[in-house]
């Protein structure tokens, strides 16, 4: 009890500076993303006004007003400051096609993507951890080799093709699961959740497969390392069962880096989700991005670019701080 209290007090005093430090480190990255997006807009060929009003043409008064409002008549560094200042206030502009604010359009479509990513990450991590542990129990055996090759195969599989093949087998040939969308048009009462879940199965598998491949190799390596440590020998000599040693002692330590690892891969997972949403017609941010790209809705495109990149920075930051909370050794460095 005493020890625990002591640790808690130590955490309180040490966590704050670490978190603050990490927060400060995230600022230049965020600023970099914003400046980069500004450069992208500036480099775009063609007149930014036409980009905003479209090819339909607008009255000269409107063009003049827009030029002034967008600050295009000012020097470039003032434009950048204006751009950053507007973003700081949460103003990402207005979507050309939807007519409403970019932020509200993005928020309305974020939920399906978050659900898909949560399911993909959960299933990917669970499958990866189980297979990684299974492989590490007999390192360099046939079983281990099979799992290593399986992981190589899984992470070389392009998500969009895996998705197509799953649709081909489970929807087109076997007719077991729906091929596209998030829900059916006609659903009996009370079956809504089930309907939702059946639509989630194939995209989840597709998204989770790639992550599982990475996680299983990662867990395997760190399990083998953990099992070679002295405290495992101690546990063995105390006569603890293999099960306890495996799951309680080794896995707990081997899982720690997995947390950071998955957090750092959130960007990749999101990239995967964009493509997979397109395969399965999943109505999330990926679908929104593709639609807005085809519609050339530039304010929406750039808004999504900023929001998504910023979310990745936030997740990385959160994971880092969480990790320092779980593993005190990190803060000491």
């Amino acid at each position: 009890m005493r020890l625990r209290e002591f640790r808690f007090a130590a955490l309180l005093t040490m966590r704050v500076p670490y978190a603050l430090n990490r927060l400060l480190q995230a600022i230049p990255i965020t600023l970099g993303i914003l400046i980069f997006s500004f450069i992208l807009i500036k480099l775009a060929p063609g007149d930014p006004i036409t980009m905003f009003v479209g090819d339909g043409g607008a009255s000269p008064e409107y063009v003049a007003e827009l030029t002034r409002r967008l600050g295009l008549d000012r020097p470039i560094h003032e434009q950048l400051t204006l751009y950053l200042w507007r973003l700081l206030q949460g103003d990402l502009g207005t979507s050309i096609h939807q007519g409403s604010s970019v932020l509200s359009v993005i928020m309305a479509r974020a939920q399906p993507t978050i659900v898909l990513m949560a399911c993909g990450i959960t299933s990917g991590v669970i499958a990866g951890v189980l297979l990684g542990v299974y492989a590490s129990a007999r390192p360099y055996s046939r079983r281990d080799n099979v799992i290593i090759v399986a992981s190589l195969v899984l992470y070389s599989l392009p998500g969009f093709w895996l998705g197509q093949m799953l649709i081909l087998v489970f929807s087109v040939k076997l007719g077991m699961l729906p091929a596209a969308g998030m829900s059916s048009f006609v659903v009996g009462a009370g079956a809504q959740w089930l309907d939702y879940a059946t639509h989630l199965v194939l995209p989840t598998i597709t998204l989770g497969a790639g992550l599982a491949a990475f996680v299983m190799r990662f867990v395997r390596t760190s399990m083998i390392e953990a099992l070679g440590q002295d405290y495992i020998l101690t546990a063995r000599s105390k006569g603890l069962s293999d099960l306890v040693i495996f799951y309680k002692h080794a896995l707990r330590n081997a899982l720690l880096p997995v947390v950071t690892y998955v957090g750092l891969r959130v960007g990749h997972i999101l990239s995967g989700a964009v493509v997979i949403e397109s395969v399965f017609g999943w109505p999330g941010l990926g679908r929104l991005l593709i639609d807005s790209l085809f519609a050339r809705d530039y304010p929406l495109i750039m808004g999504m670019f900023i929001v998504v990149s910023f979310s990745v920075v936030l997740v990385n930051l959160a994971v880092d701080i969480l990790y320092s909370y779980i593993d005190p050794r990190i803060r000491a460095q």
Partner: protein, 291 residues
Amino acid sequence: MKDWHFLRQAHSLWERFSPNRLGVFGLVILLFYVLIALFANVLAIYPPLMTGSGPSFAGLSAAHPFGTDNLGRDIFSETLYGARATLVVSFLAVVASTVVGLGFGAIAGYFGGWVDEALMRITEVFLVIPAIFLALVFVSIFGGSAWNVVGVIALLSWPQMARLVRAEFLVIKEQTYIDAARTSGAGNLHVIFREILPNAISTVIVNVSLTQASAILIESSLSFLGFGDPAVVSWGLMLHNAQKYFNQNWLMAFIPGLSIFLTVLALNLVGEGLAEALNPRRNVRAASLPR
């Protein structure tokens, strides 16, 4: 004399690489696809985009080894030409990203200080932005020509290379033989190119093959989503066209996707094999383990 030295090195690399059966397997697949890409015009039965080379959705036959697609294009010929587009675009992107990454990584690692700080912050920005997102935004703004695709893949891939090279440089520049070279009067350029770089090159080579794998994935994702060059057949474009026709001819999706998968797998296997062959530390560990 120099040529013989190179041959001897290549031979010793092969001796260390060849025991890795998976690596050799990957190399064979890779060579297979490279040959296909090189000789696509000789091997193909029809021009790649020729519609009506047969009836739509024709089954397997001698005239159409993989059947035809919705417009009667020969899937076999399309796949051969697709190899060319996919491999060339990703290869050029990898060359560009390797040159840029190597340059910036070397400068950052060797000189350190604020140059290093600034470059590392820039790479962090690129590593945070989800790859497909940036690629799509870039292509939508600048257009989906092959050169733009090369450019955006290079833009996405150089930070990884730069960070790896920097890390190698940081370690190597502290070695005593670098001090020795400097005291005997070697300048910065000599030290960077003749002393440090040759020792960092194994990391670069391994990363080249892994980067090529991810370049192929980005290229085909872009064409799959419909943002590539529609006039150039690539595996991604074939998958894009196949989406609506699963019922009619499933080979339309199966063949190009399998090709992407096998090439990426081959590159990953070769990369792993090279990493094992080139990294003495890993090699010792691998050699001491039962196979």
